[in-house]
Structures are given as C-alpha cells and as structure tokens.
Symmetry: C2
Subunit: 337 residues, 2 copies
Amino acid sequence: MKEGVGGKKNAATIRDVAREADVSTATVSRVLNDDGRITTETATRVRAAAKRLGYAVNRAARSLKTRATMTVGVIAPDLATDFFMILMERLEFELASKGYGMLICSSRESVEEERRLLGLFAERLVDGVIAIPATATSAHFKAAVEAGTPLVLVDRSPRGAGADAVLVDNEGGACAATRSLAGLGYRRIGLIGGDPRLSTARERHAGFRRALAELGIAAEPEFEGFGPMHIESGFRMMEAMFAKSKPPEAWFAVNADTHVGATSWLLTEGRRFADRVAFAAFDEMPYSPLLRFCRVSVEQPIADMGREAARLVLERVAGRAGPKPRVLRLPTKLIMH
Amino acid sequence: MKEGVGGKKNAATIRDVAREADVSTATVSRVLNDDGRITTETATRVRAAAKRLGYAVNRAARSLKTRATMTVGVIAPDLATDFFMILMERLEFELASKGYGMLICSSRESVEEERRLLGLFAERLVDGVIAIPATATSAHFKAAVEAGTPLVLVDRSPRGAGADAVLVDNEGGACAATRSLAGLGYRRIGLIGGDPRLSTARERHAGFRRALAELGIAAEPEFEGFGPMHIESGFRMMEAMFAKSKPPEAWFAVNADTHVGATSWLLTEGRRFADRVAFAAFDEMPYSPLLRFCRVSVEQPIADMGREAARLVLERVAGRAGPKPRVLRLPTKLIMH
DNA sequence: CTGTTAGCGCATTCAG
DNA sequence: CTGAATGCGCTAACAG
C-alpha cells in the first residue's frame, strides 16, 4: 500500500520491511543507507520488500537520531525581486543536486523577522543557513556563527557578522558603468541610489563617486538620490531630481528596480525631458535591453553566486571549513546595449 | 547557553527545562503547547526556565510523535519566472502567518521530477502540497490525492487530477485582450502562444479564437505561433511569423515572457516592421508599461491566487474539506496602457 | 556480514 | 492541575 503525504493511515515502517524481508531493522537501515558490508543478495531482498510495502523513510525519525535534516534554510528580504529569485533558482538547483531541501523564508526587510527566522531554523534543525541580510545589523548573524551555525551571507554583508559571504565587486562595476556614460559623451551624471545602510548601495555609490573623480567631474550632491531599491523609489528620485533647476542627463541606477522606476517616470511625468537621456544600471535582466534609455548594464554573475553560496554552506555543514570566514568577491561584467 | 543551527553541542531538551523548573516533562510540554489546564504560576516558571536555558523545541522529535511538520511542500516548474515568484511571495506570507514553513522545489518542467518530489515530500512528512503542474500529466497527482495528500494545484490544471485547484479565467481574459486589439483598429491579429498541452495555453488560445470569431475575423493558422512560454520562444515565434508573406500587425501574447521575447525581436531583427504594431499580453508585470508596443495587458490576481491556494491547502490539512475537489476560477482584469 | 539493544526528544495516555 | 511511563521510527554501538 503506497503511502502519500499527510499520512492518516499507518505507513510502513522499517520494522515492517524487516519482517517482510526476514532480517533485522538494522540490516534494513544499512541497505537504505548504502552501508556497504551487506550481501548483494540480502540488499536485493530488502529493497524488494521495501518496494512491495511502498516503504518510505520517516525523515523525522532519522533526523531525531542524526540531528541532521538535509535541509538548508534560506532567508531573503523578499521573494518577488528578480535578482533574488534568480539566485533562489540556482540555490535550489545546487542544493537539490546534493540531496538537500530548501526552506525559504522572507524577512520582509526586517531584522526582527530575520532574528526570529534564525530561531525557527534552529528548532527545525536545518543543517545550514543562507541569508541575504535585510540591513546592516549583524549581531544576530554573529551570534549564529558563534553558536556554530553554518552560515553564508549573499549579496550584502553587514560588517562584523564574521560569516562566509558571497559578494560582487560593486564598486568596480558601478565605477565602470558610470565611466561608460561619460564615454557616451555625458558629463551631467546623476545617481539613482539605494539605502546607504546596505553594503551594495554604499559600495555602488563609492564606485559612482570614484568614476566622477577620475573623470574630473565635480560630484554634485543634488544629482544623487537615495532610497529603498524599489520601483516606486526610483520613480520618486527622478521626480525629485527634476524638481531642481538643472537635472542630470544621464544616470547610474543602483539596481534593476530603481532603473525601471526611473525609466517609468521619464516615460510618463517626464516625457519632455526624455530626449537625450541615458541610463547605466546595475543588473542585467531579461527585459533590460527593452528599457527605453538603457545603454549599459552591469551584469552580476547571479548563477555563480548561487553556486558558490551553496558550496560554501555545504562545506561548512560537512565540517570542511575552518573557523575563518571566507569572503568571495566575484567580478561583474559590463554590457553595452 | 543559546543554541544555534547545526547543533554539535548538546542543546537543552525538554528534560533540562523540566529539571530547571522542577516539574515533569509533561508539564513543560503542556506549557509549550498552551494546553490550558496549567497554573499561570507554573507556566511562568517553566517559561522562565526555558528562556534561561535557551531552550528550543526539537521539531524532529515533535514531528515523530505528531506526524505533522508544520511544513507545506511547494513545486513549481521553475523558480525564476516572475509569475511563479510573485505567487511564492504570497504563499510564503500566508503560510508563515499561520506558522507553516515552505519547502520549495523546482520540477524543472519535468513530470519525472514532479513524481520524485511527491515521494520526497512523503518522506519529509510535509502536511500538504501546493503545485504548479509541469505538464498535462495527472496520474501522479491523482495517486497523491487518493493516498490522502492535501494537494492544491495552481495556475494549470491537468484533467483528472481530482485535486483542488486555483485557476483564472484564461479564456475570458484572452478573449477580452484580443478584442481590445480590434478596438484599436487592428484586424490582422496574431497569436504568440504557448504549449497546447498546458491548460493555460490552451484556454488562452481558445479565448483568442473566440474573440476573432465574434469579431468576424477569419482565423489564420499562419498567424498562430506555439511553443514554450519563454523569452527565447517568443523571439522565435515572431521570427517565424515574419518569414511568411504578410504577417500580422498586432499580437496577443500568451504570457509576459513570450511578450518580452516578441518585443525583443521587433526591436532588433524586426526594426523595419516596428511601426504600427501593438501587443496585448497576459500578465501585468512591473515592467509591462515599459515594453515598447504593449497596449493592453491581462492582469492576473496573483496575490489572491496565493492566498486562496494557501487557504485551501490548510483547510485540507485541518481536515475541514470534503473529498470533492474544489476548483476556483478567479477573474482577470484588463489594463490599457 | 548480521542481529540485539538502546536511546534521540517529544506528546500523550493513564493515574493521582 | 500535575507526574510517570510509553513509544513514535530510526541509527549506531556493540556483539556475534
């Protein structure tokens, strides 16, 4: 009798299989776990019995014994942002290929929630945690690391977390993007920026500033907008910038969403300014080439980030990683449209 | 001593708490589960002890006993598609608010994998399953339902699964979208369609055809493209259509990705045709208004779909649902740009 | 190579 | 209202 999820009825246990195959439960367990030292013959018999009974291991029982769940907990500030979901896709692929499941939770950009989730993960005995931090707060991550949690931070890295991290060269990418705008002939260049408390926003801002400095262009605080890295916020930043006397003609946008928002403002409220403008933006998305004023994007190796994050966390789970946090800084790539 | 994830060290157990509070483990358990019949005083004492010891329930142990995991398994054909991720965002919100965790897996558009995942979910004792079916195959879903699995299908529904389902009015939406193109003056209207094995693609095709019929426009098989509902495929369909003598001037695109792909072809290879063209497409995405030729989109109530799917599955988990499958068909909304 | 035995940590009878 | 005892299903010594 094949058993499904939500088992009301009594599913077959290892004991039933043992009886059916006329061996001990220990033997069944060994077969199930490819223990080796088992006759091919007995193994076959056990497997046949298991199949006949529609036996499925009870992972709760196994976990109780082994203290391992073959599960990684994942925390993201939200799940509906393109960057995060592409990352999730890859994480899932990598983890699944190693037999691990992925418990996904949204922190809703709240540290409070993040803290709660770490506690929940402890209850659920997840083997490791991958998190995209919500803000710069790091105390809870630090505590988790000290408690022995295999933890990998991705994309953003609060100072002092002491955890493994997979990041990209935000400053370099932003700098190159900004320069390329100058290369297109623009001198009045603005920033559609993020929340400076986030390492990504801060580093990209730094890259933007560095490019200006190297180009001999004076930084104009009036040309710099900051806010949540969302569509709405990109829209507002443009609005605010054009409320001033002489706005920029080109912008470096800190991510895809603000880029969409900014473009959207130009296409609606700011139509009369939309003549000779240009954008360079972090993130190359499938729809990037279709964004009207997009000339340059900074492609992040999202798949690589996912792969590396999975690798790092599983190495730690396996105990193959020293106490020293490993920080990866992956390169970005400039794409001209 | 606060314990983290991946507990090498011995975390506090219910027994430690019992000893610390000078009560029995039964009492601790009762306090933890808000059993009621416990003196406020003892409860406080127990809670204090638990806190002092940094106690966290061991959910594996609890699940072994209760056969419940407070976890819902979720299957999607892939995780990086906007529609799915927005759905996931909502599912996570709804489930988390009821204390449920979400184990997310990608079927990679493979029924084989889908079948494997259902088995995995059984091992992991998830309380219920929410799935976006990969194809029209339904035998494994049917078996799951018959085995008692609380199962809710979303977006697509293979015939004969016998499971709860949350769908939208695909035909009505597609019909309205197609009509609105005619309302804009177009008569040569094409279809950028999906794989007809998927209920969504089939129903949207039917709506497209119905609109033409009602408008007295003869259906031209030459004007209809079919393929995977991805960007690349949308691109190819346009390419193929323009390889023919007299292509359409307006299209109904079956989803956001094919819409992006089709637009992309016009903006690159098909520039010289991109004069007086228009699109109506299923899915209203944040970037939809920015897609150059987009005049109309069909908005799906994705958040509602997520909310309802969560509700249905939890009702079944709680046993508050009869054996008869419940099929919800939510309305869509036409958006003019 | 295989069997016996003893918990893993918790919820839950059944007594009191 | 509380405690003692039992077992959920599995793995991991330890024997043989």
